[in-house]
Subunit: 442 residues, 4 copies
């Protein structure tokens, strides 16, 4: 219970409106109000403890539970809700959009819902994009296809003033921002600008990170689907490697700062012999380097499979980029191609035949529709985001922590990255599952 | 923090053996012993709390963390480990078997591993089954296929004395029991008999329940895969229903006492309009009955999809069975066929055309291989079970609670069923997602 | 070359219009007119021959090739095209609809395209259905979902006069009928009525039969997808059977009059030990009956898998229905449930434990979207149908014979069923793959 | 009927042995011998004809039908059969191996079956590989995994003398060679050397080419599965492209000399706007070049998808390789990376934002297990190969032509490549489906 954070959630003001439509039926249904979540329902964040520990809980230990409130801030008839999806694609974006629209429309009777095209860019007058009108009939089947119905783009989140101008112009008073780290930074600044201007608008984030690298969220939506797709690539690499003489399968997966996809894919398939992630540095050369261990594995078993997160081993690439700079910027930092070259030249030098097959599934992983479990998760996150916004919560994200749906201050969520901790159980499980050496540092 | 239980785990005796092979490398790797889990590491079970709450934690609040111990009970060279899989099939059984064998062999150097054929039956001399020798080469690819490599059967768990005789005969001193409620009851009694005879044998359970209805385990292995398969069936029902005049799609899914598969499938697909589960009784007739609501839905939208857990609405079936007893025992309790008949006759009576399509995916759901996320989960559960058993833990299950891998006393796990609570968030989410009426009781 | 049929195709009249838009570009592209198909291009139907055979080909040997014609009958601006889908669902219906709309719109510039809702029923004034306007934007994504965008129904094909009235009322002069045997019978009678009234309207069929039982079409669209889905069920049955003591997996698949799905599923999975089809009668009892052979298989191998086409063994069911008539009409003719009972009671009588698992994947097979190969096939069939109709062909189907796309007179196509011939290679391959006994007749 | 070839099949000698085991049962089963295929059963190869054409058929028109013969050449007890798989992986290799073993064992009672490890390399003494003993229990589940159970390699087919030495040493008198063009060239030369030495050994090929580029075979095994996998990549590209501002999805698929995978993938998904294949040259620059058309498409529709076969546009790459030769050999000839660069620099120059996403699914396509239809096909090809070999046929391939299983002389099969003919229907269908311009040559 040692980890403490400021979990306080901002509210636009007191909630005085009785929630309409479905929610009132929800109550009648169960005969009382227990189905509403009160603002004083919390869960503990840091749940490790020992017998004899004394705690007096305060808000630094406790996270607010998500859910429909018995009174809400907005009169649904006066709401114009908008949804924006930013950054790279991720399985489940359409499920989230769909869930937001369905919950706004059917649970609160909000009839003015707009999609912002192509991320924050869609707010900027210079690009002259139209808002996309959303309602259940429009979104009901979009989850069968990957991607985002609204389009997406990177960047444009700096033009806070213009973004809030556009919100004002259209009377948008509820904004859902679906995106990662950068998007949520923008989201927070939009909410602050909204506050500065004295607009009563709620800004609620739905965290999206295929790499699973946002803090205070157990598992990001789309992650499971991404792992399943990466597993196909890994299986392909395993098949190729095991059918060749000294076959080496090399698979690059997503993970700029965190190696969760690599780690889970290796655990889920048990076909990988080496997992390389940004959190755990490794040497290439020398007795304890990757190449020597790979050689030993080939002698022992005739084939090997390596899965590498795109952000792993960047320390080796700076040297590499100097070496090959004629190739242009594209290659800079591509650990997959770099390892491919290194492995080939290493074995060529020692005159050992290897058959290396490199697979970069890239966009195939993120453009796929969510699997049913991810769909469930997106549907629930979206619904909770609507409950939060209608209750006037702002500068916050919906999240899932310790198996509860909760509210997290956006400021907290963007304060640090979620990364694999080499001393904890996930990485130990990876070592156990792959049998890769204790350390690949000399 | 109000829920308290006896979470104390039994140990065969003090741990004095330094764990061999990979584990020692794990420590060296990280430079210290933090990668071992100490017996005094716990997490809190009931994590709901309010500011100002005081707690002094004791063992009734705290669950023991799973993981490799710095000292173990068994000398690996003296271990004969056995694995038994019991009851109905479930995606991931082969992943669990594989993980157990891999962890025993590669992490502890246990070379004597046997599979018990066809569940507890395989222990009974009258059936004359041979033990199945297990090692990495035998199990390395079994996870690509559904089912259990060892075979399974129901029952036979009462013959405790014979079972322990067989264990003694073969010198089995580590037993892994993979199965549900009944299997774990048997497992506990085996462990008690082992204790009574003064044998130093560890009995560790891996909980298996496709219905997700075991307590003290957040999510059972194979559940996600089962939901994905059920989602296919539901999608089929939706397609059929929406392509017909007054089309009604009816899908029966697993769930004898708990409707989790039905609920998650409905949430994940958003194609269901009515979800019927054992935990929430419903009327058929009358103004607030299912049939009237179904009729209204058809008038409004021309089609409807119903997902029913096999254990739902049993109160209606007793009457039904009296009514149709000429049909024999098979039909008794089949809520799917019962609803099919009811719906057809109701609409025939009021002279409304309906086109009902009934889908019972049954064994297709449980015979499928685990998806990569379930595989990951099985791999980790299996590995933790090996760590527990080697440390001399017994009369316990490995489990996953509040996002940690933990040890649960078997006695506690079998004391009650995990069921959907209609007043909590999952069921509210189902109501929100389906739009089904507040209550279908008159 | 012995089989002769009347392959003559009907034309509405001479073709005098130069095909517009894309097609003219197609010609320019290749520099000449070879990309148009001439009306005198044919392929041979019966291609078995011996050295020394003399043939002088006439139209009884030769099938007209499908493809765009250099002159067409209709001025695209005067066309109102309609599409109707009838009967049971089949993977690929939406691909066909999509291809028809795309080819009409983009290749010929036909801008008036209507969907007839719910099969022939949509033509009948009493049901008061509206036409569904179709254009590329409406249909571009429909193939991602199973079923038919237009809805379907059975029957209503007898009201020829009303159907043609509705065509006249809306000025429909090109009609595509997507359906099986019954639908194409209706299609032919519509075309005849159209002719009787002196309307210049083309009626072109796209044959649909998930059972692959239409003659003069090598492989019906959706068949491959159906086999893939059935293979999942069979694999489930195999897993269940092989994990149980004397496990018997029993799978019922579609195939009222022809056992192609059963045969291909067995060949594709090689998990079946017995394949029962309508074309090959079998005994249940006696030394050479199914039950005795099943018993032998269980003694030898401990498990068995049976795949049965729904139309197989109907001769046994008449007796059965007399026997169990209290059960009502539903059970009558259900060979799956019948075999389940028979097998259970047989082994109960001889006191042998069996664990029978019955799987009826039913609608899951036909409600699934087409796989990419079936999509390709549907896209090509639809395009050829448009070429045929625009050239004024009528009373015909598009088909695929001896690896060519061709035109078949509807009259010929409905004259007989395509069935497995026990003396030919497919059935021999089934016997080889399953090892099932030479004959199961006493 | 104009195309004539020498379809004569070589026989080792007269067939005098009555085929044992299952085959004799097959006959009894049908009451006569019609289930055997006679050596004088043929089909016509070139089936295009016109009314009035006269033909007197000779062996230049007629292909021998495959199937079990009533008398065979080998006494099964004296057979040592071997299987070798060569070249790149292809879905279905394990299905073929499995079918060969099953047919040899169960239909003919051949009990000596060996696998040659790693292609022709496995025959060469210098590599010291052991033969892999094969029997039903070994191969029964191998088809669930992609790749080849025997391993594969490229080349080594020149050492004919050593290969036949090894055959003699082990007494191999039936050899099945599974591979493409190069493999079958080797196969023919092995058969010729066998003949030269007066050994009575049959050498029968099973043609394998994921690109579908072997002549005299309608569709190669694994091709459908490959198209399905490529369709996933194309779908990913479509999703990425349509979610971005001026999104361009670029997918490279297999197809060194023939663009069949590209063409079918485009037809099956209808998501491609440009299909580039080796058979149809295209310009990049100029008014009618790809880049100008791509620009127009982006203006009109905001996104575009390009699928390119790896062998397409090689004429552009020679220039390119001179330009970028610092990058080394790897890049030479990579049309995917080349187009990526070209498109990016073209739009950069004209100052138009594009978001290009490049997908190279590469090995993921070929390492996947066969889908059920391909499995069926492999199973049948393998079985027919066994029938051919046991009847003493040699220097031949099993194939599928005009919907019949047939024997093709190896010499003929390797004489030319199967390629897309731009003037025929497949390519016209691609143009129709993509709407790509008539010609992209200036």
């Amino acid at each position: 219970m040692k980890k403490e954070f400021d979990f306080t959630i901002s509210n636009l003001g007191p909630c005085k409106v009785a929630p309409p439509i479905l929610l009132s039926k929800l109550c009648k249904r169960t005969g009382d109000l227990t189905n509403y979540v009160r603002n004083d329902e919390y869960i503990v964040y840091d749940i490790e403890a020992s017998p004899g520990d004394h705690v007096t809980f305060n808000r630094k230990h406790l996270i607010e539970k998500a859910g429909p409130r018995g009174l809400i801030f907005f009169n649904p008839e006066e709401v114009h809700a908008a949804i924006v999806t930013c950054g790279g694609l991720c399985p489940g974006l359409n499920d989230v959009i769909r869930a937001l629209v369905m919950a706004l429309w059917y649970e609160y009777g909000v009839l003015r819902i707009s999609g912002i095209p192509f991320g924050y860019r869609g707010f900027l007058p210079e690009f002259n994009h139209d808002l996309i009108p959303l309602k259940p009939d429009v979104v009901k089947d979009i989850h069968r296809q990957g991607g985002t119905y609204l389009g997406s783009s990177r960047g444009y989140g700096d033009n806070i003033s213009q973004i809030v101008d556009t919100m004002e112009k259209h009377g948008i008073n509820v904004l859902f921002t679906v995106g990662g780290d950068g998007t949520q930074r923008g989201s927070l600044r939009i909410a602050e600008e909204v506050e500065r201007r004295g607009l009563n608008a709620a800004v609620v984030g739905i965290p999206k990170t295929i790499d699973n690298d946002l803090s205070f969220i157990e598992k990001s939506f789309g992650f499971e689907t991404a792992v399943s797709e990466a597993a196909n690539a890994l299986n392909g690499a395993h098949v190729e490697a095991s059918c060749a003489v000294n076959g080496v399968g090399l698979v690059k997966v997503m993970g700029r700062e965190s190696g969760f996809i690599a780690a889970y894919t290796a655990l889920g398939t048990r076909d990988a012999n080496f997992v390389l992630v940004p959190e755990v540095p490794f040497d290439l050369d020398g007795e304890n380097g990757l190449l020597a261990y790979l050689h030993k594995r080939l002698i022992r078993r005739n084939h090997a499979v390596i899965v590498v997160a795109e952000g792993a081993g960047q320390e080796h690439l700076e040297a590499a980029s100097t070496e090959f700079d004629a190739s242009g910027n594209k290659k800079l930092g591509d650990i997959g191609l770099f390892l491919q070259d290194k492995i080939r030249s290493y074995f060529k030098e020692i005159n050992v035949e290897v058959n290396l097959k490199y697979i970069d599934p890239s966009y195939m992983i993120r453009a796929t529709p969510a699997n049913p479990i991810d769909s469930t998760y997106c549907a629930r996150l979206g619904t909770y985001a609507v409950h939060a916004a209608m209750a006037g919560k702002t500068k916050m994200l919906v999240s899932h922590v310790n198996d509860f749906y909760v509210h997290i201050p956006t400021e907290l969520a963007i304060s640090e990255r979620n990364r694999i901790k080499p001393s904890e159980s996930l990485w130990r499980n990876v070592i156990e599952a792959t049998g890769q050496p204790a350390s690949m540092k000399n």
